[in-house]
């Protein structure tokens, strides 16, 4: 048996392993191991233990520690063993210490000397053993002690040693980049090592270096390409083949490096096209490792400057992956698809059914990967389907980590693409209901703020509708058992602010509900605080409107209970409530103005309203106020003070500066003047902070996302739901023609389709089409149809802008009209040149096209094909041009988009977009005619905007 092949252990050890293997319970196992530990402790400290015995004891120690028991009593013996001169003992010693110790352990200092000596050994096996230990045991402080030797070993005659020396140096670089900064050139040098293994080993550190600083390594592109070419052409010795693939790991590394170097660099990318194309052709797709290389090629292709031919090859491979029966390949396919759609979004459509299969696959890993893909391709057209799916999945899983992640993704998508306010509220409700405690508290505050500020529509009607729908939905949910605390806070706050606002619900009904909440969650002080404050608001509003307040008995008892609460915060709230109720209507109205949570308040920092009082006091002989500076000057402590400021942290003297303000849990824009809102500043309860920090500790990336994405996304929110006037004023200030601004702005307004009418319309227009097919196709259509309907956004925007222009009149000419069935005088309309400058939403649907009459002609015909098909529910099947007149204008959005886009693959989708837009627009747009005429006029005058920017569309579509 192999175990005798030089590595054998004594019978004792075999017995130990056997008895552990036969142990029936964890307790029994522990008993055996503890007994073993006792034995080892005794034996190991015996003075004359023979070394071979010692070696075995050390192995047994390692084994014991692997089973989770403390073997620290033997560490020192393992360290001693590294000093031994016999290679087998030395190796055992090194093995044990690398497994036992971390690089900051006190015992390391005893090993460094040995390592130094061993690195200089004549026996390369000893050197290798030492290098192995170096990787694990050397920390930033000890690097200098061994660095010279390791560098020397880069020139060792044995390639195995050179290889390991490079990797050790790489490890140093990972641990402390600064300590080996001057040596990175060695990696470049070793790239030219005559041993392919050593060359391959340098690729790992180079990959790390290039990740950090791409530009200093651009000169290596040619070398990498030529190395990859040689490897792919099988110029390496046969011994580097693995499953008939030449040095696959080297190929993978090189492709990864090339992906970095070619990213956003056309010139570098062009050097790579040939070799990547060759690999695509040659690679054996039947073996696992072959597919690994193909996958890496796709990653490379999607990262470097796009090349249509390579993208095509990549798409073919993806198709093969997705069609495969192997879950591994499907997984890779989904992942690769997620990368490739960044450059060519239309590819997703071909695979819609495969993607949906993966979504329904029992394999959880695959499912999650697919959700990741969907997350990447979410747009406002498919957001509802995707987020609904995500929420369903979120409900079904128990893994809190992933639940948190998916919940925050839902929130993010909902905030970004919400088609309607109502939907947004409903979605947030679901997320809170099922993952409330996992959602960042900021999300809740964001939601409250959105409800309070409204969604940017200028008419208050929409806002109040939104609020009533929120109130209604909350009243429905509130009775459900065990709602998360965060959600309850939102509910209480909204009920307090808007519960009685529309007169639908009586004050006693709302207050009853609030009391129920406070009672049901009596051990959640934050919720109780929110509930009490909400009660106060309701009563205050009642008093202010002159109604008589009858406090419910349960409310009465709640207040009494809380005024004796242990929590001073709750006490204060209870007393405040009682005080407010005792006031007259006028006073209440001033301290608790209705719906004032968003009013800005001005704080009179000089407290000028106290002037009279002060004056009076002075007249009565009070000392006049001496400002702080003068006072401290008089007392000659200004120096002291300064010092104190400098050394505030280290000094224990009196602090003169005020304590830091507590972090308010409410968005600060809620004015502290109205009593309601001041008291609303509930200190966020300890647990929620705790949770947050824990999260930070366990998963920095998630928390990063939290901080950047879950933070009150004010800009996004503002813009998304921003008032038309708001965005247009913004655009007029940014009058630069930079594509980016325009793009951004147009996007912003694109999401403005929140306008409920437009949404409803588009929704209903989509539905009948969907119902024809099977359920899966339905899902596919709703998911992927969206990807081809991007321009719908544009056209609805057009409508919206049209609508906006009625009140934001400054630039009506920019609201280029969406289609109106009757206004068809102008054929192809060039957008006026000032479009770019003004950055009005229309830019979305009609990018600055080049004036190519032929193309325009094309545009005239093609969209009609598509649009006619709308009526038949089958995309692009019917070619009857009879509807031409009706849809002429599509030409302006569809093909002109195409003109600007070199990737003609997009055309199709654009047309579909166009028709979608039309479908939604048929019945509206009183302003359109006017704008069309204007556009035509501009065109006649020969003004032709010329800027092309494919990226504009990439952004919009991707």
């Amino acid at each position: 048996m192999g175990s005798q092949g030089g590595f054998g252990q004594s019978k004792e050890f075999l017995d130990l392993v056997k008895s552990i293997g036969e142990a029936r319970s964890k307790a029994e196992e522990d008993r055996i191991v503890l007994h073993e530990i006792e034995t080892l402790k005794r034996r190991i400290s015996e003075p004359d233990t023979p070394k071979r015995k010692m070696k075995e004891y050390i192995i047994r120690l390692v084994y014991v520690e692997m089973l989770g028991h403390d073997a620290s009593f033997g560490y020192i013996h393992a360290v001693k063993m590294t000093h031994d001169d016999s290679l087998s003992l030395k190796r055992t010693g090194y093995l044990a210490v690398t497994l036992f110790l971390n690089e900051d352990h006190d015992l390391i200092i005893l090993i460094v000397n040995t390592i130094q000596k061993d690195l200089k050994s004549d026996n390369y096996l000893v050197v290798c053993a030492a290098l192995n230990a170096v990787c694990r045991l050397i920390n930033e402080e000890t690097i200098p002690a061994v660095l010279p030797q390791v560098v020397e070993l880069l020139g060792h005659s044995k390639e195995a040693v050179r290889k390991k020396a490079i990797m050790a140096l790489h490890r140093f670089y990972q641990k402390s980049p600064s300590s080996v900064q001057h040596l990175v050139s060695n990696f470049r040098k070793r790239l030219c090592d005559n041993d392919p293994g050593v060359m391959g080993a340098t690729l790992c550190p180079l990959f790390d270096l290039i990740t950090i600083d791409v530009n200093s390594y651009k000169d290596l592109v040619i070398s990498f390409v030529s190395i990859l070419k040689q490897v792919a052409e099988r110029r390496l010795p046969k011994s580097y083949d693995y499953h008939q693939m030449p040095a696959p790991f080297v190929q993978i590394r090189l492709l990864k490096i090339m992906a970095l170097l070619g990213s956003g660099d056309k010139q570098a990318s062009e050097n790579m096209y040939t070799v990547v194309g060759d690999i695509f052709r040659k690679c054996d797709s039947s073996s696992n490792i072959g597919n690994a290389i193909l996958y890496e090629c796709i990653c490379c292709v999607s990262s470097i400057y796009p090349n249509p031919k390579l993208i095509e090859s990549a798409a073919d491979v993806i198709a093969r992956f997705l069609k495969s029966d192997s879950h591994n390949l499907k997984y890779m396919g989904i992942d690769a698809l997620g990368r490739l759609i960044k450059t060519s979004p239309e590819i997703a459509e071909q695979h819609q059914l495969a993607v949906i299969d993966c979504l329904e696959d029992p394999d959880d890993t695959l499912k999650r990967k697919t959700f990741e893909l969907l997350y990447k391709m979410t747009k406002c057209t498919n957001v509802e389907v995707i987020v609904d799916r995500m929420i369903d999945y979120m409900i079904s899983i128990n893994d809190n980590h992933y639940k948190t992640e998916i919940a925050s993704r839902c929130v993010e998508l909902a905030e970004q693409f919400a088609p309607s306010n109502h939907w947004f509220i409903q979605t947030m409700n679901k997320v809170f209901e099922h993952a409330g405690d996992l959602v960042n508290i900021k999300v809740a505050h964001n939601l409250m703020r959105l409800i309070a500020e409204g969604f940017g529509e200028d008419d208050d009607n929409a806002d109040s509708q939104l609020r009533s729908s929120a109130v209604e939905s909350y009243l429905r949910i509130i009775g459900e058992p065990k709602l998360p605390s965060v959600f309850l806070q939102v509910i209480c706050w909204v009920l307090g602010e808007y519960g009685t606002a529309d007169g639908k619900f009586s004050a006693s009904y709302i207050t009853g509900k609030l009391c129920d909440v406070a009672e049901a969650y009596s051990n959640d002080e934050t919720v109780k605080a929110y509930a009490v404050t909400s009660l106060m608001k309701i009563y205050a509003f009642e008093i202010a409107t002159g109604r008589k307040v009858d406090m419910l008995p349960e409310c009465q008892s709640l207040i009494e209970e809380l005024s004796a609460s242990h929590s001073t915060d709750l006490q204060q709230r209870a007393y405040e409530l009682q005080a407010v109720i005792g006031l007259d209507a006028r006073a209440v109205e001033i301290i608790m103005p209705s719906d004032a949570s968003c009013e800005d308040i001005e704080i009179d920092k000089n407290l000028s309203f106290l002037n009279g009082y002060v004056q009076q006091a002075i007249e009565k002989g009070a000392q006049p106020y001496i400002s702080e500076n003068e006072r401290s000057g008089m007392l000659n402590i200004s120096n002291f003070r300064n010092q104190d400021q400098h050394e505030a942290s280290s000094m224990h003297s009196l602090r003169f500066e005020a304590y830091e303000l507590p972090k308010p849990s409410m968005p600060s824009r809620i004015p502290p003047v109205s009593l309601a809102s001041t008291t609303e500043l509930v200190p966020v309860p300890e647990p929620s902070y705790l949770r947050e920090t824990q999260k930070v500790a366990s998963s920095p990336s998630v928390s990063n996302a939290d901080s950047s994405e879950l933070r009150l996304r004010l800009d996004g929110v503002q813009k998304k739901w921003g008032r038309p006037t708001y965005s247009s004023s913004e655009t007029s200030t940014s009058s630069s023609t930079s594509q980016k601004t325009v793009n951004e702005v147009s996007k912003v307004d694109g999401t403005g389709t929140v306008n409920s009418k437009a949404h409803d319309n588009s929704y209903s227009s989509r539905k009948p089409q969907v119902e024809i097919s099977s359920e899966k196709q339905k899902l596919a259509a709703s998911l992927f149809g969206g990807s081809s309907k991007t321009d719908k956004r544009g056209s609805t925007v057009g409508h919206k802008a049209g609508k906006a222009s009625s009140h934001a009149v400054e630039k009506p000419q920019t609201t280029k009209a969406p289609v109106k069935s009757t206004a068809v005088e102008t054929i192809v309309v060039q957008p006026p040149p000032d479009l770019l400058d003004l950055g009005e939403p229309t830019v979305v649907s009609s990018s600055p096209p080049s004036v190519d009459p032929f193309k325009q002609l094309e545009g005239l015909i093609e969209p009609t094909q598509v649009t006619s098909s709308v009526n038949h529910g089958v995309v692009g099947a019917n070619k009857s041009p009879d509807l031409m007149g009706l849809y002429v204008e599509t030409a302006e959005s569809g093909p002109s988009t195409d003109d600007a886009n070199p990737l003609s693959g997009l055309t199709n989708s654009d047309f579909k977009n166009a028709h979608e837009g039309i479908a939604t627009q048929l019945s509206k747009g009183p302003n359109t005619k006017h704008s069309l005429e204007k556009d035509a006029l501009v065109r006649q005058m020969g003004v032709t905007p010329t800027s092309h920017n494919p990226n504009l569309f990439k952004d919009l579509l991707g």
């Binding site: 048996m1 192999g2 175990s3 005798q4 092949g5 030089g6 590595f7 054998g8 252990q9 004594s10 075999l14 023979p50 070394k51 071979r52 192995i59 390692v62 084994y63 089973l67 989770g68 001169d85 016999s86 290679l87 087998s88 003992l89 190796r91 093995l95 497994l99 110790l101 971390n102 096996l125 000893v126 192995n132 990787c135 694990r136 290889k163 390991k164 990797m167 790992c204 011994s239 580097y240 693995y242 499953h243 696959p248 790991f249 993978i252 990864k256 690994a292 996958y295 890496e296 591994n328 997984y331 890779m332 029992p362 394999d363 695959l366 999650r368 992640e405 366990s698 920095p700 998630v702």
Partner: protein, 170 residues
């Protein structure tokens, strides 16, 4: 880089664990347990990949392969390729198979230190060192030669020589 290699049996008993970044013993146990918890809940026909963020922190994936009574698990970050890691497991197992002639769980249990030696020739400091099992075996044999007949280092004193002479126990 590769963060960890684990071998455990289908009952969840660890047979080998190696962490390329230091983890305290308790943490190691916890990680092994949670990995096993995930593995044993997975059906046979599903993929070999698991996104392991919830266990090992952000940007970690896990590839595993089930052989007879053992799970071989590699944990690594995004700088590695999942399919390639799957093949690396294959290399590891192939090498074991060649070293032990039809490897089985017992061999792995009883040849604990040899297992580590083999692994060290495949993965070095968290990076893939060698993917050819023939090369690995060559290297391991070279080492085990001096395991059997402890190699005398040039600077040995006689007394050390005597001690070092003792070979392995059958």
């Amino acid at each position: 880089m590769i963060k960890s290699v684990m071998v455990m049996n289908t009952q969840g008993k660890p047979r080998l664990s190696k962490f390329y970044e230091y983890q305290p013993v308790e943490k190691q146990q916890e990680l092994i347990r949670s990995v096993f918890g995930v593995l044993c809940s997975r059906a046979d026909s599903v993929s070999n990949f698991i996104e392991a963020d919830s266990i090992f922190g952000p940007d970690t994936r896990l590839v595993y392969k089930h052989y007879a009574t053992l799970y071989f698990v590699f944990v690594f970050d995004s700088s590695e390729n999942e399919l390639a890691m799957l093949d690396l497991i294959q290399v590891f197992v192939e090498t074991l198979d060649k070293c032990f002639k039809n490897v089985c769980e017992l061999d792995i249990v009883f040849s604990y230190s040899k297992l580590h030696t083999i692994l060290d020739e495949i993965i070095f400091g968290g990076q893939v060192l060698e993917t050819s099992s023939a090369e690995v075996i060559k290297a391991v044999e070279e080492i085990s030669k001096c395991w059997k007949r402890p190699q005398v280092l040039s600077h040995l004193s006689p007394s050390q020589f005597l001690v070092g002479e003792v070979g392995s126990i059958g």
